[in-house]
């Protein structure tokens, strides 16, 4: 549990144009003085188009987009060892960074993790198709999207507001990405600072900030001292509302876990093996899943990579080893499913393993740098 604030940008321009009062933009402007670079997502066109961007001066901060729900670029790929970086992340990306820190790909003291509360992201192509077919709106006419109170809301450039219940959408096969539906980390407590608009008065543009670490506290203090961000005590009632929103979201996610992973776990072992085998059968060995995976960083030396993909084994060693490695590190970001050209539900399969392990041991990847990955443990084993 961190220290909670309400915050907004000190500069009028950022306060106007930044999301939720521009506290994150203000924070980034301040952080630039003590970090080498800031990695963010920048909108390049419609709300579906964005690219990774590095900032090294306060110019252009207003163009930075915090929460583009229809963009799920994995930013943790862009961290480099030995460089002081501040990075704005969704919870899954933050968890991936933590997993990388555990494996010495990144140093904790080098990175400032600014987390964003996340209720889920949308698959861009499917969402565009939905907009066209259900609302008759061209995706280019969307000025802003938002997920609020269980609804997905689109604001068009001519001021229309199109809204649908997320549950309804997801029943129809649209809505959030599948991995987001059952993701149960909504507030990134592994970050230095978690930001979001949950728990803020609706009529005011402010950001709810929760500071978890000393580095986060120092960054925020510097921002306040420099006049980049202003903070106040949060309203107690609304802070409780934030917790409540998180609770509802997590409960929903658990429901989805039951729905999507439950049937797999309920199978007989033999059936499950057959199901996994059948799911992997279309694999064409392109390695896109490995390329997209934010925790898989071994490079060409990885054990999964040394297996001959044409080994004719019932499940290729490539997948078998990846299941093993990701059982202790899968953060459930869904990038592998997104990248698979044969539409194999890889994220489901990896989560099946990770959640089974989590269920038995309580080890949840990417939550704390202090957790030792189970496969790297060498401490005295109790009970042997």
């Amino acid at each position: 549990m961190g220290t909670e604030y309400w915050g907004w940008a000190g500069e009028a321009h950022l306060r106007e144009h930044g999301e939720s009062g521009g506290a994150v933009s203000g924070l980034l402007a301040s952080v630039l003085s003590s970090y080498d670079e800031v990695i963010v997502i920048r909108k390049t066109g419609t709300v579906f188009e964005a690219e990774v961007h590095t900032l090294d001066s306060p110019q252009g901060i207003a163009r930075v987009q915090g929460a583009l729900h229809a963009v799920s670029i994995e930013l943790s790929h862009y961290l480099q060892l030995g460089r002081k970086t501040a990075i704005v992340l969704k919870p899954c990306e933050a968890r991936a960074v933590i997993e990388n820190i555990k494996r010495n790909h990144v140093r904790r003291e080098d990175v400032l993790l600014i987390g964003l509360n996340c209720g889920g992201t949308l698959p861009p192509v499917k969402t565009k198709e939905y907009l066209r077919s259900q609302f008759g709106v061209s995706p280019g006419d969307i000025a802003k999207e938002e997920i609020a109170k269980g609804n997905l809301i689109f604001f068009t450039t001519d001021g229309q507001e199109l809204s649908r219940s997320i549950d309804e959408l997801e029943e129809a096969g649209y809505g959030r990405r599948e991995s987001c539906r059952y993701c149960d980390v909504k507030i990134p407590s592994m970050c230095d600072i978690a930001c979001g608009n949950w728990g803020t008065p609706a009529e005011k543009h402010i950001t709810f900030l929760e500071v978890f670490t000393d580095a986060g506290a120092a960054a925020l203090e510097a921002a306040v001292d420099g006049g980049y961000v202003s903070v106040s005590e949060p309203g107690e009632k609304l802070a409780a509302v934030r917790k409540k929103i998180e609770g509802i979201m997590v409960k929903m996610a658990k429901g989805w876990q039951e729905k999507m992973l439950g049937p797999f776990m309920a199978m007989e072992p033999k059936e499950r093996l057959d199901a996994i085998h059948a799911a992997l059968a279309p694999c064409i060995g392109c390695y896109a899943c490995r390329k997209a995976c934010p925790v898989c960083k071994c490079g060409d030396d990885c054990k999964c990579f040394q297996a001959d993909p044409d080994d004719q084994l019932p499940i290729s060693m490539f997948h078998a080893v990846r299941f093993l490695h990701l059982m202790e590190s899968c953060v459930g970001c869904g990038q592998c499913s997104d990248a698979c050209p044969m539409e194999i539900p890889l994220a489901h399969l990896h989560q099946l393993f990770a959640k089974a392990y989590e269920g038995r041991t309580g080890y949840k990847p990417g939550m704390s740098c202090g957790d030792i990955p189970p496969l790297s443990r060498g401490d005295f084993p109790e009970g042997y």
Partner: protein, 475 residues
């Protein structure tokens, strides 16, 4: 200052032109998935994943007479060689270029008195350019077809992102049928399969017409080594059943070139080599042509090229070696160029780089020879209006006479040239078989003959008794 540059681009691997973001970070190039791209939802095949490696093998310097020279010197030498050439000349492009570059090439060729062609492969002469014109279909043709017939194509292996589209349209209720040698992944997206030996695919196709729905869509691969008779047969079926055909090519922007009226090689690359050997063609301008590294009969091609008066190669991807008389002018890599592309579904796509690519090089070359070339924007405008006009014409298929089939055993289906092989990057999934066959094939004819291949290399259709049975759908 830490540099990070993102370029929205399209993969040059095949005519699907999947969207991809190229990221340059401190001198390192990497690929980022472009998830908002309607064509592929950001998904990429092995070639796309390895694009950074493909772009890493660049032709960076100008060459003449086997040694590095300055760009200006190479341009002067090339202009001199082209002007002094005795006989006819050919300007050939594979289609790995923007529409603007292709148009600039045809403008340059007109001025220099060369014939322009697209290096599509030896089998398009069977039906001629007309067939390609008549494949004009509206965008998203795959999504609207009621029945899709895959003819001797292995989408999961050759065009994985096409396979994905097939899987998706099948979920929408489209019937998908396959004719040709059995392939590994076909069962995931076909409703019926008519397996047959490669040499009997044409007959199988003829027999299939009986069951064919009208208004079907025939998907046919159209690489450098396709089968002429097959293409002609598809053409005839389309004419008879008012169906359409989707010729999937290994090169990026073939559609753009055809729309500009560039000819397909009238007798294939073989024909071109024969004309060079006969002395009919004495100068050759190659733009983005992988012929020196991937044309199987390259020893003959190489020897023919050495007899040319002028051999000018505009190339971005490095070939291992060039004939000694080649004058090589480097081009920027595909993703750095600006311009437009047309993909297999006739969508107009934009490359958002900054370099003019071959347009600039051809302009310099033209200037050295005494002809001018308009500025880029003017070229782009003209090219676009020509393209649009072509796409507005509605064409129908007319039957053609079937050309004789190649009298050899037929290509092993495992060795179907695909983006990986055409661009010198073997697919790791079939690394063993593919490379063995590639090595065998490179030294021999383009068709692999059983006796030439080691015992342990399996021709997939040999293994399966089904190929000896009469034609009928199974399972």
């Amino acid at each position: 200052m830490i540099s990070l540059k993102v370029t929205n681009s399209h993969c040059p691997g095949c005519s699907l032109l999947c969207g991809v973001q190229m990221i340059e970070r401190e001198g390192l190039l990497d690929v980022e998935f472009m998830k908002d791209c309607d064509i592929n939802s950001g998904k990429l095949c092995r070639f796309g994943i390895e694009l950074a490696r493909y772009y890493g093998e660049l032709q960076t310097s100008a060459l003449a007479g086997g040694r590095e020279v300055s760009y200006e010197e190479a341009v002067t030498l090339a202009a001199k060689a082209l002007s002094s050439s005795r006989g006819a000349g050919v300007a050939l492009c594979t289609g790995d270029a923007t529409t603007e570059e292709l148009y600039a090439l045809s403008l340059f060729a007109d001025a220099a008195g060369l014939a322009t062609t697209l290096g599509l492969g030896h089998h398009m002469h069977a039906v001629g350019l007309e067939a390609f014109h008549k494949t004009v279909t509206h965008p998203d043709v795959l999504d609207h077809a009621q029945m899709i017939v895959l003819v001797d194509i292995d989408p999961a292996y050759q065009y994985p992102l096409l396979a994905r589209r097939l899987m998706l349209v099948r979920e929408q209720g489209t019937t998908i049928v396959s004719i040709g040698p059995e392939k590994e992944h076909l069962s995931f997206y076909t409703d019926a399969r008519y397996p047959c030996h490669p040499s009997r695919t044409v007959d199988a196709l003829r027999a299939f017409v009986e069951h064919a729905m009208p208004h079907a869509l025939y998907v046919v691969p159209c690489g450098m080594y396709g089968d002429a008779a097959l293409t002609a047969q598809v053409n005839n079926i389309c004419a008879a059943t008012s169906s359409r055909a989707l010729f999937v090519t290994d090169f990026a922007n073939v559609r753009g070139g055809l729309a500009l009226g560039m000819e397909s090689l009238s007798h294939g690359i073989d024909g071109l080599v024969a004309s060079i050997e006969a002395g009919d063609v004495t100068s050759l301008v190659l733009v983005e042509s992988p012929l020196f590294s991937s044309y199987l009969d390259d020893a003959r091609f190489w020897a023919a090229c050495e007899t040319l008066d002028a051999l000018v190669v505009l190339q971005s991807h490095r070939c291992e070696a060039y004939p000694p008389n080649a004058i090589v002018l480097p081009l920027p890599p595909f993703y750095q160029r600006k311009g437009t592309l047309r993909n297999v579904c006739n969508r107009r796509l934009v490359l958002s780089g900054e370099a003019e690519g071959a347009v600039a090089v051809l302009r310099d070359l033209g200037a050295a020879m005494g002809h001018g070339l308009s500025p880029f924007d003017a070229v782009a405008k003209e090219a676009r209006s020509l393209c649009d006009a072509w796409y507005e014409t509605v064409a129908t298929f007319t039957p053609v006479e079937l050309p004789p089939q190649a009298g050899v055993e037929g290509p092993c289906h495992r060795y179907v040239p695909n983006p990986y092989l055409v661009r010198g990057m073997p697919n790791p999934r079939s690394k063993r078989v593919g490379l063995d066959l590639y090595a065998v094939a490179k030294g021999k004819e383009r068709y692999v003959i059983r006796e030439d291949v080691a015992e342990d290399v399996v021709f997939a259709y040999e293994k399966d008794p089904r190929y000896t049975l009469p034609l009928q759908p199974y399972e």
